[in-house]
């Protein structure tokens, strides 16, 4: 992973997770140093958690609970902090599909190294805007920037390069029918990295275990339930550890327990590596707890954007109606 400019104090430390744990009094500094002393290779910061678990200093569930608690604190503080740099920016993006203006001069900014949720009514253009971010759709007018690169000005080859910094979970999962679960998750690693087959197998098994699908390796997509497919697709998106992760409704169609587990998993993954994450979700109001930043997309426009704690309290009638799920209000349903 290329170096990112990490903005918060916690992440400037060479082993942020270890330091967080020490600061919180969960473990002692000696523990961390002892564990790290065993390691021969150069240590990647996001692996510290793994190492501590492997050395038996902290258990996996303890670590996850700790990270999630940390995330909740951080999420509250986010509102008071200056805005982080933007990872993705739309400038006046317009898109007409089948004669309908789906995006109408949308300006938006996705903060770098944060979790951003996009919410809004069905058919409001959320998936379409996600596809613009990764260049699968091009705006009719306006520009999409990833970092400081404008996607419309790139050659096809440069665009493929940019996409390598992303991974995306599609609303319909988009698993490859002709491959089993294992091969689906291994696919991006085989195509885009030089890991040997053993490493790949290890990474795939680990990610599948994280989404609760151990032992499903040999199943084919048509033998899975909708929720299982979602989780395989999530595993495929997380396994490559890119910079930016786009998730189109990762919890749609899942039972509440798995939904909660997936939210924990996303949060845990985020805390270890500080990806820029964009999540489209209809899991209202839960999703507000699992993101720093919220964008409300309505009728092709950004209605509101800001820290989740702020948007949650928004008095905008549309947003209030949406959050409460009322049938009466500015959004006409029936």
């Amino acid at each position: 992973m290329p170096p990112q400019d990490k903005t918060t104090n916690l992440t400037e430390s060479p082993w942020p997770i270890g330091e967080m744990l020490v600061k919180a009094g969960q473990i002692s500094l000696n523990h961390v140093e002892a564990a790290l002393a065993h390691q021969s290779k150069q240590i990647e910061p996001d692996l510290i958690g793994e190492i501590l678990v492997r050395e038996g200093i902290i258990s996996q569930p303890e670590l996850m609970a700790f990270l999630v608690a940390k995330f909740f604190e951080e999420r509250k503080e986010y509102a008071a902090q200056p805005l982080p740099p933007t990872a993705i920016r739309f400038a006046g993006v317009e898109k007409t599909l089948d004669g309908r203006k789906v995006l109408d001069r949308v300006d938006l900014e996705i903060p770098q190294g944060k979790i951003t949720a996009i919410i809004g009514v069905s058919g409001g253009g959320k998936s379409v805007s996600l596809k613009h971010m990764i260049g699968l759709m091009a705006p009719d007018r306006g520009q999409v920037f990833v970092g400081d690169q404008e996607l419309g000005s790139l050659t096809k080859k440069q665009l493929l390069r940019v996409r390598e910094r992303f991974s995306m979970l599609f609303q319909g999962s988009a698993l490859f029918d002709s491959m089993n679960v294992f091969d689906n998750v291994a696919f991006p690693l085989r195509e885009k990295t030089r890991h040997d087959p053993e490493t790949i197998a290890k990474m795939v098994r680990k990610t599948l275990a994280q989404v609760g699908l151990s032992g499903m390796d040999a199943k084919f997509p048509d033998e899975l339930s909708g929720g299982m497919m979602k989780r395989v697709a999530l595993a495929r998106a997380l396994v490559t550890q890119p910079e930016i992760i786009l998730l189109d409704e990762p919890t749609a169609g899942l039972d509440p327990i798995i939904e909660n587990a997936i939210h924990h998993l996303i949060c845990d993954t985020f805390m270890r590596a500080r990806y820029t994450m964009v999540i489209i979700s209809h899991a209202i109001p839960q999703i507000f707890n699992w993101c720093h930043h919220v964008l409300v997309l309505h009728e092709g426009k950004i209605l509101e954007s800001g820290p989740s704690v702020v948007v949650m309290e928004s008095q905008h009638p549309v947003i209030k109606q949406f959050i409460n799920g009322n049938l009466t209000g500015p959004i006409k349903v029936i």
């Binding site: 996409r163 390598e164 599609f170 696919f187 991006p188 195509e191």
Partner: protein, 235 residues
């Protein structure tokens, strides 16, 4: 549509070469079409011999059955029928598979991973088609001529020396050359049209059905038109 062809052809010639994908496609197009090709070839040869024998016997030149069967098959029926059979068997399946991949966003998923789908999906199919069609056509030709032999010699009592001798003296290298050129260009048409139709599928399951139909119809028509064109130039 030309751009589509050019880009995927570019994918054919540029590394990294995907041997595993290519082999899979060769097996799919080639090996799985073999049975149907052999069957068609045998009966095409047999019926040609039968028809030819009765027609030629009216002119008292039934000795020419061998060369007639061989020339008709090598120059025309071999390449054309092979292309049509492969279109029906493998081309339709190609269009269908790519169509489903399109509507289920699997092609988008490839792109989102930074993989060029033209290179990953289309190039191996075009390559495999270019390789297998000439081979299948050669097999068709041989089997067809043997089918003719069965009818002419075993059934109608022609001497086997006359049958083979006629073929040997009349079948020239140029005929085989034409057969190869035709089958090669048909290979291009089949893969190009069928993958194109599948790749640009829209509108759900119905769209996939429509893509398959247009792929088969358009390929068959183009094969016949191109056949006429190439024949008129090369004869």
């Amino acid at each position: 549509m030309f751009l589509f062809l050019l880009t995927s052809l570019f994918g054919v010639v540029r590394p990294p070469y995907r041997l595993d994908n290519l082999l899979k496609q060769i097996v799919f197009i080639g090996i799985h079409s073999l049975f149907v090709i052999v069957l068609t070839a045998a009966f095409a040869g047999m019926v040609l011999a039968l028809q030819g024998y009765y027609i030629l016997s009216r002119f008292g030149s039934e000795g020419m059955v061998g060369p007639m069967v061989a020339l008709a098959i090598v120059q025309e029926l071999g390449p054309v029928l092979t292309a049509l059979m492969v279109t029906g068997r493998a081309g339709s399946a190609m269009a269908g598979e790519l169509g489903v991949m399109r509507i289920k966003e699997q092609i988008d998923a490839l792109e989102s991973m930074g993989i060029n789908p033209l290179k990953y999906l289309i190039a191996p199919r075009v390559e495999a088609s270019l390789i297998t069609l000439p081979v299948l056509t050669a097999i068709f030709n041989v089997v067809g001529i043997f089918g003719g032999y069965l009818v002419a010699v075993q059934l109608l009592g022609m001497s086997s020396g006359t049958y083979w001798g006629g073929i040997e003296s009349k079948l020239a290298a140029k005929d085989i050359y034409i057969s190869i050129i035709k089958s090669f260009s048909f290979g291009l048409i089949v893969a190009w049209v069928c993958t194109y139709m599948g790749y640009f599928t829209t509108r759900g399951a119905e769209g996939v059905g429509r893509s398959i139909t247009s792929a088969v119809v358009l390929t068959s028509v183009l094969v016949l038109i191109w056949d006429y064109f190439i024949t008129s130039v090369m004869l």
